[in-house]
Symmetry: C2
Subunit: 268 residues, 2 copies
């Protein structure tokens, strides 16, 4: 069984890529076989790990979306011990248009992950800041949606639409889809704003426990990921936080989050 996770939020710059890379790296460091699928035309997750898909010419996620039956082994690159990645390239931006009228346009990534069934225990899919076709493919292919967010007002505003999208996909192509919860990123615990937003989040999730909705068992993950400049520096070296600054708060927080994530999975 595979814990496949769409790391998504249409709000920009909330920590989707930073969380995909460092949570996946943390899980891999715990010895679990892990795959990252970079579904963002910006290809930042690929860049973060030092993988240049355009340089090596091997298939990318773009090729696999256009032809899910195409060559797949070359697309999966080893990035670290226990950590592989199917990288993105900027061409991926065209995929939304090219697939707009294509058959099974929402189920392309599902097919790709089916072909890799059994190879990885954890799959994390980095999504672009939108609820378009790429994100819908991620939601269609995953067991759960994980929403990084910043405890700011504008990010909270977007959650309603985010949940509604998950509900629609859950009623349509992917009935098993759940929202596992929210990861607080760039967190400044000492601000009133952060405390108010977190309180709102907890109240919202508590209120949903008895309802038949995809977020009925959603939670605010702990620990929050504190704001830590080391997390912003590490991509420029093509390194995860554990390689770049293993003692930094960012490394502590993502390591703890990875342990929570694995422990929770083993208990299910």
């Amino acid at each position: 069984l595979t814990r496949s996770v769409a790391v998504m939020n249409q709000k920009g710059g909330v920590g989707k890529t930073t969380t995909t890379v460092n949570l996946a790296a943390g899980v891999a460091r715990l010895g679990r076989s892990t795959l990252i699928v970079d579904l963002d035309p910006q290809a930042h997750a690929s860049l973060h790990l030092g993988v240049d898909a355009e340089a090596d010419g091997a298939p990318t996620i773009y090729d696999l979306l256009l032809d899910p039956e195409g060559p797949i082994d070359g697309a999966v690159r080893d990035a670290r011990p226990n950590l592989s990645i199917i990288p993105a390239v900027v061409d991926l931006a065209a995929a939304e248009t090219e697939l707009a009228d294509a058959p099974n346009r929402h189920g392309r990534l599902t097919r790709v992950l089916e072909r890799l069934a059994g190879r990885f225990e954890f799959v994390f899919i980095d999504c672009p800041p939108s609820l378009g076709l790429l994100t819908l493919n991620a939601l269609g292919a995953s067991r759960e949606a994980l929403a990084p967010m910043q405890a700011h007002f504008l990010a909270l505003q977007g959650l309603g639409k985010l949940f509604e999208t998950v509900r629609l996909v859950g009623r349509g192509v992917n009935p098993r889809l759940r929202i596992s919860g929210v990861v607080l990123c760039m967190h400044e615990e000492t601000t009133n704003l952060a405390r108010e937003v977190v309180a709102d989040l907890h109240a919202f999730f508590e209120g949903a426990r008895a309802e038949d909705v995809p977020w009925k068992s959603a939670r605010v993950y702990t620990p929050p990921i504190r704001r830590n400049i080391k997390l912003a520096e590490s991509p420029s070296f093509g390194k995860t936080i554990f390689e770049y600054a293993p003692g930094a708060p960012g490394a502590q927080d993502y390591a703890a989050l990875a342990e929570t994530f694995v422990r929770e999975w083993d208990a299910m």
Copy 2:
């Protein structure tokens, strides 16, 4: 003559909305007639100013993009003294698909602004985190592109693609398009990362001075906008920073930026 500005950056969460609202408000406070066009399906600029387009039922930017000859006066709402806004609604997300095969799909907003010619001295267009059809409309309709950014590595990476897009639009539908420059947002001057990124930016712009490119006179605007929690709090009250916390660093910085922006325009 109108200073029309596409506030754009495909990187998410870099301060596009916060800059559109507070720079426009700063310019309006200096007595200049200013229009905000909210071109983001998230409608955060509209939310930030307390304008709920869905509640009042009047035309929105969505309606005008689908029919640029449609009713326009009701679409322009007074938001503050000297400051008007054409708001967005979530339906706008569908516009990219609905207009994908439409005639003149890149020139819709140009037509809308032509119909408002002479009414406003400054026009700021808030773009979504993408280089898709909405952002292309903004670039086609504007005299200049202004890119808010965070002095982080991943934001710097995206600039190349951003400039390339501006160059393409400049060669195609809008030969007068320039990049006026970059606004540094959420700036933490004391970090090495910020200093390195700013140094890279300055070097890049200096190196372009002699070339025939749309960014030959681009600059890093001063002052940078410091990280200030008040800027993140103000949208939750439907207020600009000047209304919410007039003495805060965020208000000082956006007031100074607005003065720079107006003074520069008067000198042109």
